[in-house]
């Protein structure tokens, strides 16, 4: 293993843990039979998050006639997927909101891309014949690219080499990362997932979202869902930065996901509208 790879692995070990609320919400949402009460129970132990949820639920972008005044009301109104998004965004803000110079991405671009991927993953899960639940697809979408936040600094001075490989030697961005740095953002993200104690399903997605056929069989459909969702986000113009649309596409998704052209058009339309709404709500609440 190269000295850079070793250094990056050491860096992962000192990343602060996720907040207790975010970790507990990930576990609750992974259970397909979870209830609103369970989500409310976790949220109510975190006063900062409660305040944030009430503020967002009452902001003008949602145009409500009567105010949301209870935790239960805010969770029901926003939906548990948005709640996990807000909790995770707050807990790992340092990673999500920093500019990623190695990807030439401004502050907030990683978060926008992950949010759009999460929304798309939630919708695509509806085309898996019940094999993937929207909640876990959404969480996996939020976390799939977290490794970029760590790898970025190590790519910064090596981007020219990465593009030389892409432009002249038919590499995709992932294999170029690996060739130039020694590890890619999926490997680093999966290590961080382990450090954070994330469930195996989410770690498999982080590790294999660009090569879903390599995911453990029981998590393969979920990994394909996020692979497509990541592609949809990039097609919509919301990639993380210079790597957008530079990854290999795995076309055998049709084994698990029955999505046709009209479905995809509707999906692209829906996520562009919803991303707009969520983005405005979060900005307003800041």
């Amino acid at each position: 293993m190269s000295s850079i790879s070793q250094k990056i692995i050491e860096e992962v070990k000192v990343i602060p843990p996720l907040s207790r609320t975010a970790s507990d919400l990930i576990v609750v949402l992974e259970n397909p039979d979870h209830t609103v009460e369970e989500v409310v129970h976790v949220v109510s132990s975190d006063p900062m998050l409660v305040g944030q949820l009430l503020k967002i639920a009452n902001c003008a972008a949602f145009a409500r006639r009567s105010p949301v005044e209870s935790i239960g009301g805010a969770v029901s109104y926003l939906g548990d997927k948005m709640v996990i998004g807000i909790a995770l965004g707050a807990s790992a803000a340092r990673l999500y909101d920093a500019p990623l110079k190695g990807y030439d991405a401004e502050a907030g671009m990683l978060w926008s891309h992950c949010l759009l991927t999460a929304l798309a993953a939630r919708e695509i899960s509806k085309f898996t014949d019940g094999k993937v639940r929207g909640g876990v697809a959404y969480t996996a979408g939020l976390l799939h690219d977290i490794g970029k936040a760590i790898l970025s600094i190590h790519l910064e001075d090596r981007l020219k080499k990465v593009f030389d490989l892409i432009n002249n030697d038919s590499y995709d961005f992932l294999s170029a990362e690996k060739a130039v740095v020694g590890v890619d953002h999926c490997e680093i993200g999966a290590l961080l997932g382990k450090h954070w104690g994330l469930p195996k399903s989410i770690r498999e997605v982080i590790a294999h979202h660009h090569q879903p056929a390599e995911a453990a069989q029981e998590h393969q459909v979920l990994t394909y869902v996020v692979h497509l969702a990541d592609t949809v986000a990039m097609m919509s113009g919301v990639g993380t930065g210079v790597d957008s649309m530079r990854y290999s596409f795995v076309p055998d998704y049709e084994k698990f996901i029955s999505l046709d052209r009209d479905d995809l058009d509707r999906l692209l339309l829906m996520i562009s509208i919803e991303a707009d709404k969520v983005g405005r709500a979060l900005n307003e609440a800041e």
Binding site: N167, V238, M245, L259, R261, R266
Partner: protein, 164 residues
């Protein structure tokens, strides 16, 4: 600083202001339709995301630039409003950029290609056709159109800017 009009997904706009500029970023599979009128020196652009408005007539009403079939008439009407009356046929220069694709043999995810095709079909109805285009491929583009020079400059990470 030049008067800059920035277009988001599904937006369109036109300008006759001297020295102005219209820009759109990160097209992904969306296609930018660029129009330049020789006579009035009016520039216009639409950031088209989907081929057909049939999937959402409500969205088409709210944001006609989102779909190929509603974006082009809306852009032409806007240019006519800004510039009086823009040229018809060969007097109006049309260029296309964007429409990045992924290699999907199922043809579902080739939305960039479908967008470009739908736009060309609508342009034909108006007796128009692109004189230059840079569409397809596996990379996202940004576009800037300069009123003063009529230049259409494309950019993409990892390569030098280029003109179409």
């Amino acid at each position: 600083m030049a008067d800059t009009l920035m277009l988001g997904v599904g937006e369109y706009g036109a300008s006759v202001v001297r020295g102005s500029l219209i820009k759109t970023l990160a097209l992904g599979s969306c296609v930018a339709v660029i129009m330049l009128d020789r006579k009035t020196r009016c520039i216009g652009m639409a950031h088209v995301a989907l081929p057909d408005s049939k999937i959402s007539p409500e969205r088409a009403k709210e944001r006609p630039g989102h779909f190929a079939d509603t974006a082009i008439p809306a852009l032409l009407a806007n240019m006519n409003k800004q510039a009086g009356m823009v040229s018809k046929g060969a007097g109006l220069i049309v260029k296309l950029a964007g429409g990045a694709n992924v290699a999907d043999p199922n043809n579902t995810f080739n939305i960039g290609k479908r967008n470009a095709l739908a736009i060309r079909k609508v342009l034909w109805k108006y007796g128009l056709g692109p004189v230059a285009e840079d569409v397809g491929g596996g990379f996202s583009r940004s576009v800037a159109v300069y009123q003063e020079t009529g230049q259409v400059i494309l950019s993409s990470p990892g390569r030098d800017d280029w003109e179409i």
